[in-house]
Amino acid sequence: MNSLERIVPQSKDFVMGNEACAYGAIAAGCRFFAGYPITPSSEIPSLLAKMLPQVNGVFIQMEDEIASLAACIGAAWTGKKVLTATSGPGFSLMTENLGYAFMTETPLVIINTQRAGPSQGQAGKAGQGDVMQARFGSHGDYEIIALSPKNAEECFTLTVQAFNLAEKYRTPVVLLSDSVIAHLRETVDFSKINKPEIVERKRPKTLEQARRPFDDSEEDFIPPMPFFGEGNNLLVTGSTHTAEGIRETVDRATHEKLIRRLHNKIYTHQDEIVRYEEVFTETCDILAVSYGAPSRPTQGAVKRLQQEGHAVGFFRPIVLWPSPEKRLKELALQVKRVYLVEMSIRGYSAEIERIFGPDTVHHISKLTEVHTSHEIYEEIKRDMEENL
């Protein structure tokens, strides 16, 4: 048994979502964590502080969340797979360097265990109000990949997936967990779950490639990544830069070329990145959309409505950004009413309303805790009687 197998459970275990995230990080090859304590994410750093040294990884508690993400970026450029974990207030501070990570094409994973905001809100209570923040919280035109697990098992598998996406696309990836699944203990059989293959970042094969860390000639828009200490005199900057990394603060064409490539890097691969789950959608004319913890009672409510003979489908985005808009636009042609169930007043609604039209979407939101299946069922029934 190697050290990895000794610290990551290999059989049935009773774990919290946060613990599963930490195990997923180790399994994905994460060997550097910098973070700052915040409820309700704290089990992730606590477990990693214990596990990382056992696999020759580095754990550091920084002075704040700004510094945490900064340290992660610095470490990623030495070749490490890096992680930080936080919650709303900390994520707000991280949005500064999130933009920097996107601009410098630095692979990293941020776990945001969402809590009830805004501001301090209720630290121990759940929320899903950071979905738009992940997408638009940093300034300027940037793209993000954001994933949403629904249970402890997915906290493990999607953390691995988050690292894989970060490494493959050389970009920051956010795992938008929430305090319900973060602290819910569930049985996970680690021997049976479908563990994703581990992806490593693309590396330069020639000296010329190594000296063009932001190369724009790759067909997939993803340049190979050289590391510090390899003798390539790298220039890494958050300013607009050329393929070689040279800062270009005036020329319009350089900016246009760089930002459009960074956009295309995510946009043209959205079919590979997007993941979702759907049930009863072949013939449905009503659709319930939910993600994260509330998707579980929502699925229960949909099942009950189906049993009563209503043509209600269930759709769960697993990757929130880029959004599964292609599939949702197909469903938009077939459904007359959409129920969006989430623990937020705004949450994902702008995206769902954009696709289905604001008059089609009825929002079933509950703050600080997950809805019961019955609450969702009742509200859908009430609305159907009133509006359909």
């Binding site: 580095v58 900064a70 610095g74 450029w77 200490g229 890494v236 900057t237």
Partner: protein, 255 residues
Amino acid sequence: MKPARIYRGKYLRRVPSLFCPGCGNGMILNAFIRAVDELPIPKEKYVLVSGIGCSAWIPSPNINMDTLHTTHGRAIAFATGVKLANPQLTVCVISGDGDLGSIGGNHLLHAARNNIDLTVVMVNNSIYGMTGGQVGPTTPHNIKTSTTPYGNPYHPADFPAIVSAAGASFVARWTTAHILQLKDSIKKAIQKKGFSFVEVLSQCPSHTVYKKEENAFEILEHFKSISQAGAIKTGIFVDIEKDELSESIYAQLGD
């Protein structure tokens, strides 16, 4: 001393630099690469980290080594990640007083407290130069700047004293009138296993904070006289040995 072209070819990406005429940054760049040249550490083992502002441009894009040009104030936090992820690298931060001391003050304090093996060169020109001469954390009291048009109501920070109190292993201050002493201190700072901090009082002739002295030459003369008179303290203030962070962390690794 070797002729300048030797250093230029080996260490510089571009000549001339982008700095204003009379700026102290070129002199500090000169002192830094001469210090590096006298050390046995291979060039590819250096990572130079900087934040935002004129002096953050000293390493990036001027010096031909691995450089990381970061967000405003965060250079030390980025450098911490580089050093801890690969302790074989020699990590140096070169940035301004506003970047390292004002917006980045918290990172400076905690890197010194943790005694992580970084060399930090703080270029103190007493002003925000790049943005147009606004008051900085080191601007003398009562001085008029573009954001203190009636005189500076704030008090300047003494960063070597702050960093010493926070727990740094090596602390020095020189001025651009002390280039050889500066070079020697940078050398010692890089060799020191621990957090090293070198402040350089420098000149910004474009936004001078001095009443009488207007050009670089006059400001350098002023630096000489105030340091000789003891009006500002120069020299090495701290040079001690203590547990260093990356060594402490790496000592805990393994089964």
